[in-house]
Amino acid sequence: MLKVENVVCPFCGCLCDDVIVYVEDGAIKGVEKACSIGRSLFLKHREDLSLPSIDGRETSIDEAINEAVNILRDKKHVLIYGLSSTSIEAQRKALELADLIGASIDQTTSICHGPTSLAIHQTGIPTCTLGEVKNRADVVVFWGSNPLEAHQRHYERYSLIPKGMFVTEGRRGRKLVVVDVRPTPSSRAADIFIQVRPGEDYEVLNALRYMLKGGKLDGEVGGVKVETLKSLLDIMLSAKYGVIFIGMGLTMTRGKYHNVEAALSLAIELNSHTRWSVVAMRGHYNVSGAGMVLLWQTGFPMAVNFSLGYPRYSPGEYSAVDLLRRKEVDAVLVIASDPVANFPREAVRNLLSLPIIAIDPKRSLTTMVAKVVIPTAKVGIETEGTAYRMDGVPIRVKKILNSIYPSDEEVLDRIIAKIKGEERNA
């Protein structure tokens, strides 16, 4: 059995890079160090594979690509969506295609941490890499985030347990605060758990800011006693290096980017007293990278439209859900994502009426209803590539096994070449 060490897990934004994988007869037989989600990702990677198909009939990859090209060339306004579970290399190609055909392009962040980007537009963000958390952070706050279930090794590798350069005692050298609307496995590990009334994080964050500036409050805010908030503020001020991890409990609840803006403002203001950073708990393993590529190629992190020949940015207008709800697109290219399973019902209903091209190694609700399915090699198992961890650290994910299918990058490259070839003939 072949032992492959320091494998990078292509599942969540933790991008753990210490996983051990055992390979025999071209299949993964064992996994060590990964969390339960990561283990299952590696061990079951050959299950539920998609097949090349057109209108539900199995076909060859070449024919599926040809059909995709026909659709993309004929339609007036294509939406390209997904991107968060593929490599930087594929994301770059997806943008090249969007620019070429004047498409709208959006990534999964628009239904996840998109509001974090909107808040950063307003305030900026003091942030740090996860190794800084390990080495320096003596107070960590998880706000609207449940790492033990969603980012299972986060506590262990980065934020709570590890002994760092200046936090030599590990867990005992750190105070863990969890703020959430309900108790979770993550909050049970906390030194302090603060339960906020659903939808009132904004008020609680701004109460902290108000008190930081010397304001006096009494009673309670958002279901939390003011004394509790006062002691939280004292803890924050007494930290040498504090970090707030923000999750979808802030970004996707009432207030959305206002909540994040309040959290960022609090952290920025705390920096006049001591050091505080904010890190977004990004979900998919390369959702961070999708934002990075969009930013360096278009200047914007999501929801970009190329129909005028240059990138225009308008979340709420060019974001995937909104384009679908308003029936503004006539075909959808989905790359490594499952919008049929995740989008609001109205958006899904309209999506189902459109020709969908799905590029995905795995079967999903989206591939099941897609007009064209193009299976690809799984990034991080069957093909290599770069991914960006939740803190923006780029890591090279590995190829462990061979695949009979091309990579996402290769498929997109072939589509681009064919479309360009047609242009030249015309």
């Binding site: 060490e5 990078v8 537009h121 963000i125 003091p126 740090c128 190794g131 914007f300």
Partner: protein
């Protein structure tokens, strides 16, 4: 297919490194290089009679790619909205202004006659990010400088007194991250800010108990012993504040025996003891530098424009955030460095900004084109595509006079610029843009048109003034390919090179102790830290001893 042989016929050639000063001669190109001679039958002949032929320009210091540039893009959507660029002629669309997209960065540099641009501040942990953006910055040759002045492992080894390990580590780090030069930013200062402290000094103890001078000395030794083509690229302490000239003098005095490059020197030439008494002290800095040919600098010229400041000098960005108000981003990178970002508008009616504007021009005009190179520390002083404005001021005393009338009325008493008559000639300007920075970078194949040089050639149509002439190329040849023809980009399909240094220091040279520090304190494993070869699709490796 591009023609692999070219004859550039009948141009007026300026080639400062070879002493050619406006002679009419033909330039021969074969397989991407300049050659002595070529027969006409096999080559494409480009008739450039009456045009200026010069080496393509080289930017020694421009923040065009990587984590902090992208963070700035995220923080400033409004910056892009006012400067969109359409997709055309096979070129990619994008946006410009202070933090332009990668393709737009390349296109605008090409039209200004550039062939090589160096990004001066990359944290090794995020080097892949910078390299990926540079892959999307086509045609240009590019390199990155690796931030080392606040590296915890380096400080740890120096504290132990283990200079040998410290030097090997620095040389290994430069190679592992794919860097071209060692960059130092406010040594000790970025680390101190992680503790909430502002630290600015070369001779005081940092929180590690090591003096910053000791760190820079060691890195100078690395540059020297490994014969790095470019010396330590130093952004010293006290940037941007009244009295910063003292830091410049202190720095020059501390390292006068070494080769050294002082980054964006303009920001370190201020006198006064408060913002109210802010004035130029460029003359004192120029005097101190005049005896030391071994020290070069770049301008860091300020433009009156709304721009974005970004630097690894995190305490300075925090200070600027408090001064300017508004948005602030900061990113601390484990064991290595950090970066800060603040949007900033330089105003003509602001006394401090007016003095800053004059200082950049003063140092350039007083020290001359072989010592100080044109930069705006893009985008810190303003976007690089304002270089033609700077060229106008450097080549015309009248243009400067006109500006001095427009800036803050009290500025005149605090600057020297109105007393300087010098006007750079076309030859001097070409020196400053190409020959001199190529020489300072140790890029022997760049910045000249002699046989064996890379065929990176900028060709300009003479216009009314030097600045107008140099504001846009008529042709740009890159590695023998015609990239710009008749003033338009015709071929940007080619990704350009990454230029990096191989110090020859491999993993085996690192002590077990360093490996242990890695395992304990980084959040990535050692084997996933180093930049893989796949990032260097086309490259030039400078092998040094």
């Amino acid at each position: 297919m591009p023609n692999d042989s070219l004859i550039i016929k009948g141009g007026i050639v300026y080639d400062p490194l070879n002493g050619v000063k406006g002679s009419i001669k033909d330039i021969y190109v074969k397989d991407g290089k300049i050659v002595e001679d070529l027969s006409e039958e096999a080559a494409e002949v480009i008739d450039v009679t009456g045009m200026i032929v010069a080496p393509a320009n080289v930017d020694i210091h421009s923040h065009i790619a990587g984590p902090k540039v992208n963070s700035a893009r995220l923080m400033r959507p409004e910056d892009h909205l006012r400067d969109p660029l359409r997709r055309k002629n096979g070129l990619r669309s994008g946006c410009g202004f202070s933090v332009p997209t990668t393709f737009v960065t390349a296109y605008r540099y090409l039209l200004l006659g550039y062939g090589t641009v160096m990004d001066p501040a990359v944290p090794p942990l995020k080097a892949r990010h910078a390299l990926e953006e540079l892959e999307d910055t086509p045609v240009l040759d590019k390199g990155i400088y690796i931030l080392m002045g606040n590296n915890n492992i380096l400080y740890y080894l120096l504290k132990k007194g283990d200079k040998k390990s410290a030097k090997l580590f620095a040389a290994w780090l430069l190679k592992s991250a794919g860097g071209y030069a060692i960059k130092v930013v406010n040594p000790g200062g970025t680390e101190s800010f992680k503790w909430g402290k502002i630290f600015n000094s070369l001779s005081d103890d940092t929180i590690w108990g090591i003096k910053p001078k000791v760190v820079v000395d060691i890195l100078n030794e690395v540059a020297c012993e490994f014969k790095l083509p470019h010396p330590v690229h130093l952004h010293t302490y006290n940037i941007g504040i009244p009295g910063s000239y003292k830091a410049a003098l202190d720095t020059i005095n501390a390292f006068k025996d070494n080769r050294l490059h002082l980054a964006h020197l303009q920001y370190f030439c201020y006198g006064g003891d408060s913002w109210a008494t802010f004035r130029s002290e460029s003359v004192k800095v120029v005097e101190a530098l005049s005896n030391y040919e071994n020290i070069t600098a770049d301008m860091g010229q300020v433009i009156f424009v709304d721009t974005t400041t970004m630097t690894a000098d995190t305490p300075w960005e925090f200070t600027l955030h408090k001064l300017a108000g508004g948005r602030w981003s900061n990113s601390d990178v484990e064991l290595e460095t950090g970066s800060g970002i603040v949007p900033y508008r330089y105003r003509m009616d602001n006394l401090v900004n007016s003095v800053q504007w004059a200082v950049g021009l003063e140092i350039a005009l007083l020290l001359g084109p072989w010592r100080v190179f044109l930069t705006t520390d893009h985008p810190n002083g303003g976007p690089f595509y304002f270089y033609p404005e700077v060229i106008k001021w450097l080549t015309s005393a009248d243009a400067r006079k006109e500006m001095i009338e427009k800036i803050h009325p009290k500025a005149k008493k605090r600057i020297y610029l109105h007393n300087i008559d010098r006007e750079f000639s076309l030859y001097e300007m070409i020196t400053m843009l190409s020959a001199a920075p190529a020489k300072a970078l140790g890029l022997k194949e760049k910045g000249h048109l002699g046989a064996g040089a890379d065929a990176d050639i900028a060709i300009y149509k003479p216009k009314g003034s030097v600045a107008e002439t140099l504001s846009r190329v008529e042709y740009l040849i890159k590695d023998g390919r015609v990239v710009v023809r008749h003033g338009e980009i015709v071929d940007a399909s080619y990704i350009g090179r990454i230029i990096r240094v191989d110090t020859g220091v491999d993993d085996s040279a690192l002590s077990n102790e360093v490996r242990e520090l890695f395992d304990k304190f980084y959040s990535v494993t050692f084997s996933n830290y180093k930049v893989e070869d796949v990032y260097f699709k086309r490259e030039v490796v400078k092998r040094v001893v």
